[in-house]
Structures are given as structure tokens and as C-alpha cells.
């Protein structure tokens, strides 16, 4: 009996420990290839060169154009998703009927369940032509429509997580505000949003992290041209797109070109890792404020 319990616990432990193994493997895979990459290309070059042409004869290894592309699409996505998502969260919490909320929330979450290739298709075949009808200079591949569509995709992420954060604020606080004669708007912005600010912040950070790592939408609709620009109307390339682009052609194992995707992957991993930990830290730090 005792022994059996021990064995079972051991097996369960092993399963949990596998997750650590996965992390270690990810880091090891990224590191081992990146280290070799950086033994040939100095980190300074990697971080300061303004061009990214590692596959060409004239090799330039500046990650900045890819980072700029990633930043651009992410910023557009957040600019779309944050105001809308946050407003939805407040509206559902303070204004909407409970019944309405129980219908709308899952409906909105449908947006997050749609596969991202599908969003890519939508960006390329619907949104871009639509935008081109009134933005004449817009290229067929561009950061703008990819960013907008990505924003639509992460609306439910912000609205749901923020909504959770706001409804986690003790009812008593809301009642206190109403009890003093506040309107719903005053309750929302004067009491609920400040009280839920850490949770809202977490939702935004996670949304950013999601947008940074998003691949298919940008691979399909944003273009494949590493370009150091903040112009949303022209083709750009994100870190993720670069990895996809290279993976589609065969890059032989062990070559410098092969390692560039791991160096790019490492950069991506570091960004999202920092963002995730930041959000985790904020959550831990501020969550226990209310029980």
C-alpha cells in the first residue's frame, strides 16, 4: 500500500518534471545553436547593424529590421485591441446584464479560437484590398492589415482577462462606490479599473507577448522583407516570419544560415520570456491584495 502510493507519486512527479525538461530543451536548443552563431557573428554586430541579409553573399546580421517589423505589427495590434478590449471588459462588468455577458463572453472568445492561418487569409484577401481602396500607397503585403487583424484576434484576450480582473475586485468595493452615489462610469474608472489595474496590466502584457510570437498572420500578410522602418504601409518582416521563411526553404543543418533562425528564435524567446515573467511577477505581487 505504502509502496504503491510512493510509486504513483513518483510517476506523477516525473510527469510534472517533464515540463522542466521541456524548458531546458528549449533553452538548450536555442542556446547551443545561438552560441555557435555568435561565435561567428559578434553580438555587437547582431544588435547594432541596420540590415538583415544573412542568406545573401553580402551578409549583414543586424536583427534590428526584424525587431522593428515585430514591434510595428505588435504596436498596431495593441493599438486596436487595448481600447476595444478594455472598453468591452468595463462594459460587460458595469453595464451589461448578466445574461448578456454570459452570451457575449464566449462569443467573443470564438475570436481567439480561430486558427491564425485563417486570420492571415482574412488579412490578405479582405482587409488589405479594403484598405487599399482608400490608402493608395498600400502594398499588398504590409504591416498595417496584419497588425489590425492580429488586434482583432487578441481583443478577447484583453477583454476576458481584464474582465476577470475587474470582476475579481471584491463586490464590496463596487457597492461602496455605488453607495456613495457614483454613476457606473465613475465606479468603473474611479474604483474598479484602478483596483484591477495590475490584472489589466497583466492582460496587456500577455497580449503583447502573444502578438510578438504570432506567426501565421504576419507570414501570410505582412511580407518577407526585412526593412528597418516604422512605415506600416510597406512589406516588412517579423522575427517569426523570418523563421518560417527560412524553414520553408531547406537550410542545411549546421550552416550559419541554419543558425540564424535559432539566433532569431532566441531573440524572440527572450522577449516573450521577459514579458511573461513580468506579467507573472505582477500577478504574484498584486494578486493577494484582495482575498
Amino acid at each position: 500500500m505504502r509502496v504503491q502510493e510512493r510509486i504513483i507519486e513518483g510517476l506523477l512527479w516525473l510527469s510534472a518534471a517533464i515540463t522542466v525538461l521541456i524548458t531546458i530543451s528549449i533553452i538548450w536548443v536555442l542556446l547551443s545553436e545561438s552560441v555557435q552563431f555568435f561565435s561567428e557573428v559578434s553580438i555587437v554586430r547582431f544588435l547594432t547593424e541596420k540590415e538583415w541579409t544573412p542568406l545573401f553573399a553580402e551578409k549583414k546580421f543586424g536583427i534590428l529590421p526584424l525587431v522593428a517589423g515585430t514591434f510595428l505589427t505588435t504596436a498596431i495590434a495593441i493599438a486596436v485591441a487595448l481600447p476595444i478590449g478594455l472598453t468591452i471588459a468595463i462594459y460587460l462588468n458595469e453595464y451589461a446584464h448578466a445574461r448578456f455577458k454570459t452570451i457575449i463572453k464566449p462569443l467573443l472568445e470564438v475570436l481567439a479560437t480561430i486558427p491564425t492561418v485563417v486570420y492571415g487569409f482574412f488579412a490578405l484577401t479582405v482587409v488589405t484590398p479594403f484598405l487599399q481602396s482608400f490608402i493608395p500607397g498600400l502594398a499588398g503585403f504590409n504591416a498595417l492589415s496584419a497588425g489590425i487583424v492580429m488586434g482583432v484576434m487578441i481583443i478577447p484576450m484583453i477583454s476576458s482577462l481584464s474582465e476577470d480582473a475587474i470582476s475579481a475586485v471584491p463586490r464590496s468595493l463596487r457597492e461602496a462606490a455605488y453607495g456613495m452615489g457614483s454613476t457606473r462610469l465613475q465606479t468603473a474608472f474611479g474604483v474598479m479599473v484602478p483596483a484591477a489595474s495590475s490584472g489589466i496590466l497583466v492582460s496587456v502584457i500577455l497580449a503583447i507577448s502573444r502578438a510578438v510570437g504570432e506567426t501565421m498572420i504576419v507570414a501570410i500578410a505582412a511580407g518577407q522583407q526585412p526593412r528597418l522602418t516604422l512605415n506600416p504601409l510597406v512589406p516588412i518582416e517579423t522575427i517569426t516570419t523570418y523563421i518560417v521563411q527560412v524553414s520553408m526553404g531547406d537550410v542545411p543543418h549546421g550552416s550559419l544560415e541554419y543558425r540564424t533562425i535559432f539566433a532569431a528564435g532566441m531573440t524572440l524567446f527572450v522577449f516573450t520570456f521577459l514579458l511573461n515573467n513580468l506579467s507573472f511577477w505582477i500577478k504574484k505581487k498584486y494578486q493577494e491584495k484582495y482575498d
Binding site: 468595493l173 453607495g179 456613495m180 452615489g181 457614483s182 484602478p194 491584495k289
Partner: protein
């Protein structure tokens, strides 16, 4: 205005949460500048009734009332009544102290600020006055700009009372205001209620019958959504008319 008139009155009041009939034909008139206590076992509708008195249940989906509630003889559920105005008239204090996560000062003047009052001096004066009324001034005057969450539970509850007083209501509703507090804080709040009833009409829900006995002038006993008995507190505790009241008071259940 003479004392001992009816400040608040419920007439044939029924309340529902969806299909659930939470209050059944309540008729009760509460006196001005006196303390009325609501007692009864858990779930009997005390809080529900208390919250209909300043329409706090308005935002609960499916909640509705029938009948009338008169505040100074005006029906508070009439269509021309503005809820925010009503709540300025009828303040409320809750079971768990619920200060806003702001400074002590900001907490007290919150009600004024949302009315658009910006006059610094006025705000400061009202703050001091309210804190003095709740005997909190000396304890917190040096840390008005500190977070209210750093206060003890008892202090927080008195702060919440101060916050309610700052918008000069005429009625204060209290829903089990001491049930989360230690004996010493409880005693302080009870003393405070004694003080305040000179100026305000106070209605308090409590599950502690001895507390009802100590602080209230009148007591209403609710049971399963009905108002079973309502009389002078002394009468109720010494010679209850109803058998259920008797059983409850002597601890046969609850």
C-alpha cells in the same frame, strides 16, 4: 421637523430575485433619529430588505420589487427619483470594511469629489469633521495620505462610516457592521452608533442578538422573507409575541 416621525416606510413590499420570492409583503415604518435593528436567521432577507432602502439591488439582474418604500413620504422607486441623489441621502456601511484602495483622505472625500466638488479647503474640512465624528481623527490625522488599507479592520470600518457621513446623508444603513471585527472594535462602533443616532436615522442588520439589544430602539425579526415581529427592542427581547421569534431569540436555531 419633530423627532420620532417616520423617516422610512415600506408598504406592501415584495422583492424577487428572478423567481425567488425573497421578501413577502413587508410593512414597516422606521423612526427618525433612532436605531432600528433587523435580526433573523441567515438567508431570511435582512440584507435584501436593507438594500432595497437605497436601491442597492438595482444592478442585480432579475431583482425587482413591488410595493412602495417611502423616504420622507416620497416613494424612492418612483420613476423621477435619481438613484445617485437617493444614495447621497441614504448612506451605507457594509459587513466587511471596504475602503477604496486609495489614501485615507481620498476615501473620505470620495463622495464629494464625484459630485464635482473641487474646493480643497471644503474637502479638508469635511474630511476632518467626518473623521472626528467617527472618533478616528486622532488616530489617523498624521497619515491622511497613507493607504486606507493599512488601517486595522476596526479603523477601516470607522473610516467607511466616516466616508458615508461626509456626504451628509440623513439615513445610514449598516449591514452587520461589526461581524468581522474584534470585541474592542465592536464596542467602539457600538458607542459610535449611540453617538450618531442624535443626528441620523440608523438601520442596522445584525446576527448578534445581544448587539441588537444593546444598540437599537426598535427590532424587526425576519424569517424566510417575512417580517414576523416588529416592536420596541425591550419588548421583543423580554416578551416576544411570536413563537418563532421566541425560538430564535432563545437559540433554538440559527
Amino acid at each position: 421637523m419633530t423627532k420620532r416621525q417616520h423617516k422610512l416606510e415600506a408598504i406592501n413590499l415584495d422583492a424577487y430575485y428572478g423567481d425567488f420570492h425573497a421578501l413577502k409583503n413587508i410593512n414597516i415604518a422606521m423612526e427618525e433619529k433612532a436605531v432600528t435593528a433587523f435580526i433573523g436567521p441567515s438567508g431570511c432577507g435582512k440584507s435584501t430588505f436593507l438594500r432595497t432602502l437605497n436601491r442597492m439591488n438595482d444592478y442585480i439582474d432579475g431583482f425587482r420589487v413591488q410595493g412602495q418604500i417611502l423616504l420622507d413620504n416620497r416613494d424612492i422607486y418612483a420613476s423621477n427619483v435619481r438613484v445617485d441623489e437617493l444614495r447621497k441621502e441614504v448612506g451605507m456601511v457594509f459587513q466587511k470594511p471596504n475602503p477604496f484602495p486609495k489614501t485615507i483622505f481620498e476615501n473620505v472625500v470620495y463622495g464629494l469629489k464625484i459630485q464635482g466638488i473641487k474646493d480643497k479647503k471644503l474637502l479638508r474640512e469635511t474630511c476632518e469633521k467626518s473623521l472626528r465624528q467617527t472618533a478616528l481623527w486622532d488616530e489617523v490625522k498624521d497619515k491622511l495620505d497613507k493607504s486606507a488599507l493599512a488601517l486595522s479592520g476596526g479603523q477601516q470600518q470607522r473610516l467607511c462610516i466616516a466616508r458615508a457621513l461626509a456626504i451628509s446623508p440623513s439615513v445610514i444603513l449598516m449591514d452587520e457592521p461589526t461581524s468581522a471585527l474584534d470585541p474592542i472594535s465592536t464596542a467602539k462602533i457600538e458607542d459610535l452608533i449611540h453617538e450618531l443616532k442624535q443626528y441620523y436615522t440608523i438601520i442596522i442588520v445584525t446576527h448578534n442578538m445581544q448587539q441588537a439589544g444593546r444598540v437599537s430602539d426598535h427590532t424587526a425579526f425576519f424569517y424566510m422573507g417575512e417580517l414576523v415581529e416588529y416592536s420596541k427592542t425591550k419588548t421583543m427581547f423580554t416578551s416576544p409575541k411570536n413563537e418563532r421569534t421566541q425560538n430564535y431569540i432563545t437559540g433554538r436555531f440559527g
